[in-house]
Symmetry: C2
Subunit: 367 residues, 2 copies
Amino acid sequence: MQILDVDLGERSYPILIGEQLLDRGELLAPHIRGKQVAIVTNETVAPLYLERLMQSLGGYSVTPVVLPDGEAWKNWETLQLIFDGLLSARHDRKTTIIALGGGVIGDMAGFAAASYQRGVDFIQIPTTLLSQVDSSVGGKTGINHPLGKNMIGAFYQPQLVLIDTSTLATLPARELSAGLAEVIKYGLICDEPFLGWLEDNIDRLRELDQVALTEAIRRSCAAKAAVVGADERESGVRATLNLGHTFGHAIETHQGYGVWLHGEAVAAGTVMALEMSRRLGWISAAERDRGVRLLARAGLPVVPPTDMTPEDFMQHMAVDKKVLDGQLRLVLLKQLGEAVVTGDFPREVLDATLRVDYDLLMQQSRA
Amino acid sequence: MQILDVDLGERSYPILIGEQLLDRGELLAPHIRGKQVAIVTNETVAPLYLERLMQSLGGYSVTPVVLPDGEAWKNWETLQLIFDGLLSARHDRKTTIIALGGGVIGDMAGFAAASYQRGVDFIQIPTTLLSQVDSSVGGKTGINHPLGKNMIGAFYQPQLVLIDTSTLATLPARELSAGLAEVIKYGLICDEPFLGWLEDNIDRLRELDQVALTEAIRRSCAAKAAVVGADERESGVRATLNLGHTFGHAIETHQGYGVWLHGEAVAAGTVMALEMSRRLGWISAAERDRGVRLLARAGLPVVPPTDMTPEDFMQHMAVDKKVLDGQLRLVLLKQLGEAVVTGDFPREVLDATLRVDYDLLMQQSRA
């Protein structure tokens, strides 16, 4: 088992990473203050892991809350089911909410923890690669609004993140790839050597090699923990974690939540950010193609939806959280391994980026 | 104009108290970061003060959000109207949400500010006596749930509280009395001399004497600011501010939100807390009667609803936020001017308190 510490002063917490941690109640106990625990999970994860986790929590009064599965349910109505469960079972302010599942479960359980009786304790047990390397670290919680993704939420830190790498055995291949989009992102924005490591190990990761997965998760969490530790409330460098996300959110919103997986939209969005960085003269075509090829080898889409026009993109991007005082800011690459957040680019370069034939670009990147 | 500072480290903020402050945009400007402002108010307050406030904010892009009036609307559906307004007008993360109205508006606008894009700036302009002396100070925000009051929310501090005492001229007498319940509370829990001052000035307050009102608001805010400053997240002494609230919330929940005003329920609940403190031998019958008489002179109900049984009270109090590990804790008086939060009382004394004939008690207190 590996332990990482996320340093946020009085809101610091550990991340435990290892195999079969789900059965080890002694890892959870030091982080549970009261006698009540609510486990928030979904219909897909519950049959696989809920019983095991409840066995690990034998000494507690446990309320399971099983939600429908999917980003399409990341809304107020579903969040309300968590509050209904907590209130029906009379959970008090010392209760602990455990998120058992992927990013959607973590985001909703975390926002429920932030809001229930104005804040109760929270533990993350992410069971997808995406949530293990991304959404379980950094304290972002929330739900979607019909007019925008993640528009309602809170910054709220967990007491503990427990990553059981064995749970990836039951993850569909498509979701594993979606998680790899975020793993590759860390290489692109702040760790060029890790990018090289990924080029050597991408096939092993897709084959669920446990050693390679553990290493990829550890390096990803460490990268994110370092960035978040430096900038908890996303006033500066933290925003670089959103490489590909502004374009990606536009794709998700336009297609309807849940049609593209988050990581898939981020992958296509990352290709657009790479292309825009090349057009600004910050990276070479060869460097752009390294990123595109690695994303493609991870089993990810590298072409945005062909039915999306530049106008569609602009409309959705105008409500993105990185818009400040009406100016659109994007995460772009100064070089491989170094991202910046900037609104300082000619509008024409963005327009041109939105008009690129990405099918052709993908084919050329393979040449 | 008087200025009070609420000392919460990096979340400190000033409270400005005075006449006709609504027209003084220069008091607001230093606390607004961006160019966008949303004013959240309700159908009762908007015709009275919205236009004047918008004039004070001439240099900003202002989005008014006018909600229906009343505690019955303090729910998710109404909160959603704020998010709809913010997103439709494309408010970004540097926007400022201003609450213009009473406690319900402050609680909802505050929770919207805490949750919109995971947190934006917030200014309180409370227009009722209750919200001026209570809910605008301390950072509590939230909405009700069908199973409990204020169950969903956040601790979230404003940038500024602006109290324009002139707005009390349009407040119905019944709501003025409801505010006085909280003013009297400060005397009971932590300021015995203030209790004496109130006994001398209660009639002037009900007649809207501006000098008396300003003094009562200043002393109330100072008392609350001191308590909140010592215990922002209600782990200890802050809970004494809830004198009468556990019984009072039970009354509000049982009667249906909005039937009794919050301050009215708190007044009757305070009488119950006084009576229970007397039964524990902590205060005398004469001291209890001083409290009961002052509440009655303020125009407040001092008798709980006659259709509520002891069982009704116990059922509603079991989900109160002051329940920890199944033990009910109450705010009681060790003496006039000194409150404690305790679960250390014989259950029979609580049962007896719930069975008291409060009509009779009220009549005797006048003797």
